[in-house]
């Protein structure tokens, strides 16, 4: 063991992605048997940091020193050899293999080098599970386990590799309270065994319950490392938020009095994820939804668009009760949806910019109900929208994947806007695009709202919500916990409410 008890130390770590400095001169260390909480807003650089530790990314400069020796973590397998285990939010388990097989995957005990020693693999697995006080049959298949159980298997797997550092990324986001307790007792057990843990969570109270030290990241820089007992949650929140950077278009919002109610949602429930949500959306309003992972916003908005099922609840659109069972019904009513997962459910990769924009309304642009596309009309619609949103492209037949992220986002927004929607649901509209394009998207949103379109924007960037929205509702574990309007909204209040620290309506 080292004199200063440090297992791993990072010095001056820097990582640049095209257009973004993800990490700048970050120093960070973890001691043996320490639980070190890593906190920061989205985009602060937490995931980049753990991916560097896990061997997924290489730092552009800086040193990593493990047990006193400088090391280069070039691949994930090297990370494993250096006894570092990362438990990502999406688990790396093979669903159709047993618990024991998963724990020892790639390192199965063998007989005569060729045959898996089933007896040993199951016994060893059972022993590890017992050590952690986890009551799961090692012969069970992963696919039969709950999320919490899978997570425990991940931890068992890390231990079986003799991991000295286990990194947990948002481990409690999808767990019930009882499961969280169980996880905590395991973490405490690990600490006694001198295993170091980096614990990443949006839920500050958890970080405080568990950790020995807290490190705050913001905009890729390390702001502070504090002993947990020497600080408090309020201080950490203000460190996380810092000074508000004003690179936003705060917009000449025409000061609209609340217009008529366009959409109303009553007693909306989705099993497990959304509980009793009620809100009204006014004409020409930008309504913000804030919440961290597990807040249920994503499920709620998808369901309002008909892309997921609700359990119960009513939706009124322009005063009339409506049932939206699939996206085409939402589009028909005039509800548009712009996904946060541009690649997965936005872009039509193989198709042109033009075809990407027109796909929603292409049937309307034909003679005889679908037969013969009116090509001139299609181009005209495209040109109009391209001008409106200032989309930059080489020619209309260019494949969409060759556009920049910001321009792709504009095309996807344009796709929704050409269907003449009255309500626009935007999820993380500026995720993964650079600052200039961000300001442009904000400008477009303000313009749309001034034209009378109602916007619901879900964003994990609080400054964006504060600067842009007329009203902001905060969700925590599927419930609406706070509502702010333009006059009383600031980032600190939003952060506090997002992590469940603030729960009265301030309206």
């Amino acid at each position: 063991m080292n004199a200063n008890n440090v297992f791993i130390e990072l010095r001056n770590i820097k990582k640049i992605f095209p257009g973004v400095v993800a990490l700048e001169d970050v120093d960070f260390d973890v001691k043996y048997g320490e639980v070190h909480a890593l906190v920061g807003e989205n985009g602060a650089g937490k995931s980049t940091l753990i991916k560097i530790l896990g061997g997924v990314y290489q730092p552009d400069s800086g040193e990593i020193i493990i047990e006193g020796k400088p090391e280069i973590i070039a691949t994930t397998s090297i990370a494993q050899r250096l006894k570092i285990a990362v438990i990502y939010q999406e688990f790396n388990l093979i669903p159709d293999m047993s618990v024991a097989e998963n724990i020892f995957v790639g390192r199965e005990p063998r007989i005569a080098r060729s045959f898996i020693n089933w007896k040993k693999i199951n016994n060893d697995a059972a022993e590890i599970l017992k050590k952690l006080d986890i009551n799961i049959n090692p012969r069970k298949f992963i696919s039969e386990l709950s999320v919490a159980e899978k997570q425990m298997i991940e931890i068992a797997k890390s231990l079986s590799m003799d991991a000295k550092l286990i990194i947990m990324d948002e481990p409690t986001a999808t767990l019930t309270e009882k499961e969280v307790d169980k996880l905590f007792s395991i973490i405490k057990e690990l600490r006694k065994k001198n295993v170091s843990i980096i614990y990443i969570s949006h839920r500050l109270d958890e970080a405080f319950k568990l950790s020995d030290r807290v490190t705050v990241l913001r905009d890729g820089k390390k702001i502070e490392t504090k002993k947990t007992i020497e600080t408090n949650q309020d201080e950490i929140v203000s460190l996380m938020v810092g000074k508000i950077v004003k690179d936003y278009f705060s917009g000449e919002r025409e000061k609209t009095d609340k217009g008529e109610v366009v959409m109303e949602v009553k007693n909306y429930n989705i099993a497990d994820s959304v509980h009793n949500v009620n809100f009204k959306l006014h004409k020409g309003e930008i309504l913000g939804f804030a919440g961290v992972l597990g807040s249920g916003i994503h499920h709620l908005l998808r369901s309002l668009y008909g892309a997921a099922q609700k359990t119960s609840g009513e939706v009124y659109f322009k005063g009339k009760k409506v049932e939206i069972r699939k996206p085409s019904e939402a589009i028909k009513l005039g509800i548009g949806y712009v996904t946060e997962d541009r690649k997965g459910e936005g872009l039509l990769n193989d198709m042109s910019v033009l075809q990407n924009l027109s796909i929603v309304i292409i049937k309307m642009l034909t003679f005889f109900k679908g037969l013969l596309i009116k090509e001139k009309k299609e181009v005209k619609v495209f040109n109009g929208m391209a001008k409106e949103l200032d989309i930059k492209y080489a020619n209309i037949n260019q494949r969409i994947i060759y556009l920049s992220g910001g321009n792709q986002q504009k095309v996807i927004m344009g796709r929704t806007l050409v269907s003449e929607c009255k309500v626009l649901i935007l999820l993380e509209p500026t995720r993964g695009i650079d600052v200039g394009a961000k300001a442009e998207i904000h400008k477009i949103m303000t313009k749309l709202a001034n034209q009378g379109i109602s916007i619901i924007m879900a964003s994990s960037e609080l400054s964006e919500l504060v600067n842009l929205t007329d009203r902001c509702i905060v969700f925590y574990k599927g419930k609406m916990v706070a509502e702010f309007n333009r006059d009383n909204m600031d980032e600190e209040k939003l952060v506090a409410a997002e992590i469940g620290k603030f729960s009265c309506s301030n309206n």
Binding site: S328, I331, I359, L365, G370, L372, A394
Partner: protein, 320 residues
């Protein structure tokens, strides 16, 4: 490399045809006659017609391995029904039965979530079995000689199968490139989730696509039955591979989202030229199978290169 692939995407198949033409024109004086050329095109048009349908299937992100068995089913139904129902009735019922097969394929794939590969392979075996059952394992001779008019005659000096191919090409071309349905097919193959979020009924679109494939296969089944005047339950074994080769060689990407019917048309001619050339060389017929297999691998290789390289371009952010 990227430039080469871009160029190949645009004109690769034409270059292949020009090279093959020059070669054949040199080694065979016969090749310079119009009749020979027509006969080459005619040999290719059976594969072409089904490949038009297959182009839709692959564009939509799917696949259909049941086409050769649909041909057999069509053939058998026609042979059995002709004596009682006459041309029109028999043909209509054969086509409807094929379309029903396509519908079942579509439902298996979209509603039951079976992989297109396995679903249509199972369908192939089922249809082969059913066709053999219907005829008791025999071939059925057709006594109405006039049925030959359908596929074994010429119109204005052009063999009728070529005319059918041209008509179907125009119809399928318009369908893929000029209608909202065609766009929807490409969108479904390009990104199914994005298509759903755009309000498209992807399941319905895909089901219609499988009906189209089966329809095109039944047309070829009818033509071939008319030429042979026999209902053959095991018609055209291995032909599906031919059809796939034509489609992929023509530039329709296995990844879906991008269909190229003009490429399909010319690829069918190219394959037919290979056959013709091999005949000239007087080699055993087995070499033809060899040639098709190798061509398919070549086409897949190019398609794979294209996917990989365009992916690299995308990652590096090079504008092309």
């Amino acid at each position: 490399m990227v430039k080469f692939l871009k160029l190949y995407e645009k004109i690769g198949i034409f270059i292949l045809i020009v090279v093959a033409s020059i070669f054949l024109a040199i080694v065979s004086p016969n090749f310079r006659k119009i009749d020979t050329i027509l006969s080459i095109i005619q040999q290719g048009c059976y594969g072409a017609i089904i490949a038009f349908g297959m182009t839709f299937a692959i564009t939509s992100g799917g696949f259909d391995l049941s086409v050769e068995a649909v041909m057999g089913l069509t053939s058998v139904i026609i042979a059995m029904l002709l004596p009682g129902m006459g041309f029109i009735g028999a043909i209509i019922i054969a086509i409807l039965a094929s379309c029903f097969v396509g519908l079942v394929n579509g439902v298996l794939i979209t509603k039951m979530g079976i992989s297109p590969l396995i679903a249509t392979l199972a369908m192939q075996v089922i249809l082969r079995g059913a066709s053999l059952l219907i005829t008791n394992g025999r071939q059925v001779v057709i006594s109405q000689k006039s049925f030959m008019l359908i596929g074994a005659t010429k119109l204005f000096g052009i063999p009728t199968p070529i005319i059918y191919m041209v008509v179907l090409f125009i119809v399928f071309f318009i369908l893929l490139n000029q209608t909202s349905f065609g766009r929807h097919v490409a969108a479904s193959g390009s990104n199914e989730q994005a298509s759903k979020m755009s309000g498209l009924n992807v399941n319905l679109i895909k089901t219609v696509v499988y009906i189209l494939v089966a329809f095109s296969a039944s047309i070829v089944g009818i033509i071939r039955t008319s030429q042979a005047l026999i209902g053959i339950p095991t018609m055209a074994p291995g032909f599906t591979l031919n059809v796939l080769t034509i489609t992929i060689l023509g530039g329709t990407s296995l990844a879906g989202g991008k269909g190229n019917l003009i490429g399909t048309l010319f690829a069918s001619i190219f394959i037919s030229m290979i056959y013709y050339g091999l005949n000239l060389l007087n080699v055993q017929i087995f070499y033809q199978m060899l040639a098709v297999g190798i061509t398919l691998l070549f086409a897949l290789f190019i398609d794979g290169l294209r996917m990989r390289y365009l992916e690299v371009v995308k990652i590096k952010g090079i504008r092309v």
